[in-house]
């Protein structure tokens, strides 16, 4: 969860770094700072939390990727700020106060005018794979690309938006693609056989359609099983450089079948909410907008059939241990210690085969609850490849 903007102004380059309202998710247009964790004059280090931001959908902490002195907090708490709006200024202590004051005035003028260009955030696309439409969000670095792209595969009932806190920090140096599996997001709702292997074949078709020859794969939950199955498919031989698995399915017998069936069956807000609460360690993260968005997804024609097909396979148990055994690349696993959907106890089967990071304070959605740890794990898996 980092965001910064190049230190340029209309007057030219200066030494002031501008912290802007991040874009967490494709639908986010604005957010509110609910709490500042830093004050003017504080020294900021990389990875430090700057503030808490509420987006209606989910609240999260904004992490700094900057070193310097916090010189100004531009906006008050609880005020709606559009994505891209400047919320704080960071600069070395020797930058004169007049320059800071001028930059604050300029930022506030821009906020008041509403004239904020927001071209941040992923771009949407779609490709045809085996007669189905597969939607995706792509985010590429503005500068040089180093190394193979990263492809994110969400879990059961999720979509490309679930990588909102993770995709941007990874995209600073390499191209990133977050796709919607069949039956999810903006992709076709027909899941076909709906097995992990058939979904893996769709992911390989996606790589072919975009001509991605070598990739790092990141998968969450069912998506973790899918990306692992990709490595075991001859059609992807030699193309997967690394795996990052977040609470992956397919590595042990323990899976919350009640959740899987209940999520598929829930028709109303009242029925759905208790299941969503099981996803997070911090249940306050389940806000109205998150529930509404999932209900809107579940009401689409074809989604009930898709989820019923997928849930039947998942509840029966999936097993991708053989695929991982034959995969030679680096594999890093992140598991929320409080995961109530695919419990962390499943990680035992990965001992000696993968690096496993157990994350305290995270449930099944560690990429939303503790994105910093997930970003670090992806960096670890990707290495310099």
């Amino acid at each position: 969860m980092t965001t910064t903007e190049d230190a340029t102004t209309e007057a030219g380059t200066d030494r002031i770094q501008r912290v802007t309202m991040p874009k967490w998710g494709l639908s986010m247009e604005s957010g509110k700072v609910t709490d500042w964790f830093v004050a003017e004059g504080d020294e900021l280090t990389e990875g430090q939390d700057i503030c808490e931001i509420d987006t209606d959908k989910i609240a999260g902490a904004l992490e700094s990727s900057w070193e310097g002195t916090v010189r100004a907090l531009v906006v008050d708490t609880m005020v709606d700020v559009p994505v891209g709006g400047i919320i704080a200024l960071v600069a070395d202590a020797d930058v004169p106060q007049e320059e800071i004051d001028a930059a604050v005035a300029q930022a506030r003028e821009q906020l008041a005018s509403g004239d904020i260009a927001d071209d941040s955030g992923p771009k949407l696309g779609a490709v045809e794979v085996g007669g189905a439409t597969i939607a995706y969000a792509v985010l590429e670095p503005e500068g040089d690309v180093t190394g193979a792209p990263v492809v994110f595969v969400h879990g059961y009932g999720g979509d490309k938006d679930s990588w909102m806190f993770v995709q941007e920090p990874i995209a600073t140096h390499r191209a990133t693609y977050a796709l919607d599996l069949p039956g999810h997001g903006a992709s076709s709702k027909d899941v076909g056989a709906g097995t992990v292997e058939s979904l893996a074949a769709t992911v390989i078709g996606f790589l072919d359609a975009l001509d991605l020859k070598s990739v790092h794969l990141v998968g969450h939950s069912m998506g973790g099983a899918v990306v692992t199955a990709v490595t075991g498919d001859p059609a992807a031989a030699g193309r997967v450089a690394s795996l990052t698995l977040i609470s992956p399915a397919g590595f042990g017998p323990q899976i919350n079948a009640g959740y899987i069936r209940g999520f598929a069956a829930a028709q109303t807000r009242r029925e759905l909410k208790p299941y969503l609460l099981q996803l997070f360690a911090d249940q306050s993260l389940v806000q109205r907008q998150l529930i509404d968005d999932l209900l809107k997804y579940k009401r689409l024609d074809g989604v009930d059939t898709a989820l019923a097909t997928l849930s039947a396979h998942l509840a029966d148990g999936v097993d991708v241990t053989a695929a991982l055994a034959s995969f030679a690349g680096p594999t890093v696993v992140v598991w929320g210690a409080q995961d109530r959907i695919v419990p962390a106890a499943n990680a035992a089967s990965l001992q000696g085969r993968a690096t496993v990071h157990l994350v305290e304070g995270a449930g099944h959605m560690s990429h939303m609850e503790k994105p910093h740890e997930v970003v670090a794990a992806i960096h670890e898996a990707v290495g310099s490849g």
Partner: protein
């Protein structure tokens, strides 16, 4: 979901087009729903009196039927066709015209399932415009949904946004019972995010439009957007309002209203229909009966005065409940000291 912004009018049109595409038994009928058919002019000249159905006739020429100006005839025909296997969507132009075809709705469509022991289904949807705001005078501006809500056997739908329009209209068409689907004529140009794909919103599930701890505002149809405006003003003075849009008055999701009142202890109901025997009095009575002990103040009802809708714009604006009326009602209940 592939979501984009479209208008309330376009959402009606898209729901009809997608269901006609999906199901060949869906037909659209009513006065000037195409307009000009078989005359000298264009085949799709009108598309309904406010252009809502424009474009359907060229796509489905056999299934978009212009009818004579005889509501008793074509509403009866739609009800009969529904019992024989079609899924007609009949447009009763202005809901104020219900008087000339009420027997077909009240004594026929609403009663068939019951009187034939469940052996007959009547999957008819009757669309109509309702509400004040266009200076259309007393015979074209009424909000008559309480009358339909009064009748067992009917489902009554009041969409409050383009998203609600599309999902609730598709649900109406697929439903096996007669549905009265009421579109507010002042909302046709309101825009909002709507998925491209077909989807359904279940009946009897209220939408929590906004969460708050201090007061519950139940608002219907156009009044939802008035309540949202009021809530923004109330927030500035430190009052957090919870807004509930029942979406359907029959069936009514009383549970969601009761749960909210248990939390806030205060209830304001905003209803554009005439104040006697309307949804506000009905919901108020049910909440008093079920949750009297949770109330910390009297229930306030924001409704128009008990008069015909005025034609003069200045008087009509006074007639329609406005955000300031809602703010005032909320302040009355939050300031209540017994």
């Amino acid at each position: 979901m592939a979501t984009r912004t479209i208008s309330y009018r376009e959402a009606v049109n898209e729901a009809l087009a997608q269901e006609m595409e999906r199901d060949p038994s869906v037909i659209v009928m009513g006065e000037d729903v195409a307009g000009g058919v078989a005359g000298d002019g264009d085949d799709d000249a009108w598309g309904g009196v406010l252009g809502v159905t424009k474009g359907l006739y060229p796509k489905f020429p056999d299934r978009v039927l212009d009818t004579p100006i005889t509501e008793s005839g074509f509403i009866g025909a739609a009800v009969g066709a529904a019992t024989r296997g079609l899924r007609p969507v009949a447009e009763l132009m202005f809901v104020d015209f219900m008087g000339v075809c009420l027997d077909q709705i009240m004594n026929q469509a609403a009663k068939f399932r019951y009187m034939f022991g469940g052996k007959a289904v009547t999957p008819v949807t009757i669309r109509a415009m309702y509400g004040a705001g266009l200076s259309a005078a007393a015979q074209h501006s009424q909000a008559l949904y309480p009358i339909f809500t009064h009748l067992p056997g009917l489902k009554v739908v009041l969409p409050s946004s383009p998203y609600e329009v599309k999902g609730l209209l598709i649900q109406s068409i697929r439903d096996n019972d007669p549905v009265i689907f009421l579109e507010h004529k002042a909302m046709y140009d309101v825009t909002g995010p709507v998925p491209q794909e077909s989807y359904t919103i279940p009946f009897g599930e209220a939408n929590i439009v906004r969460e708050g701890d201090d007061v519950t505002i139940v608002a219907l149809g156009w009044m939802v957007s008035k309540a949202i405006e009021a809530a923004a003003e109330l927030e500035a003075s430190g009052v957090q309002a919870e807004i509930i849009d029942p979406r359907t008055t029959s069936p009514l999701d009383l549970d969601t209203i009761l749960e909210s009142v248990e939390k806030t202890g205060r209830l304001v109901i905003v209803d554009e229909s005439s104040p006697r025997c309307n949804m506000a009095t009905d919901i108020s009575a049910q909440v008093c009966s079920e949750a009297f002990g949770d109330l910390r103040a009297p229930i306030k009802m924001v409704s128009p005065p008990h008069v015909p809708v005025p034609f003069a714009r200045s008087l009509e604006n006074l007639y329609i409940p406005q955000p300031q009326d809602i703010v005032n009602a909320v302040k009355t209940v939050t300031d209540w000291t017994g």
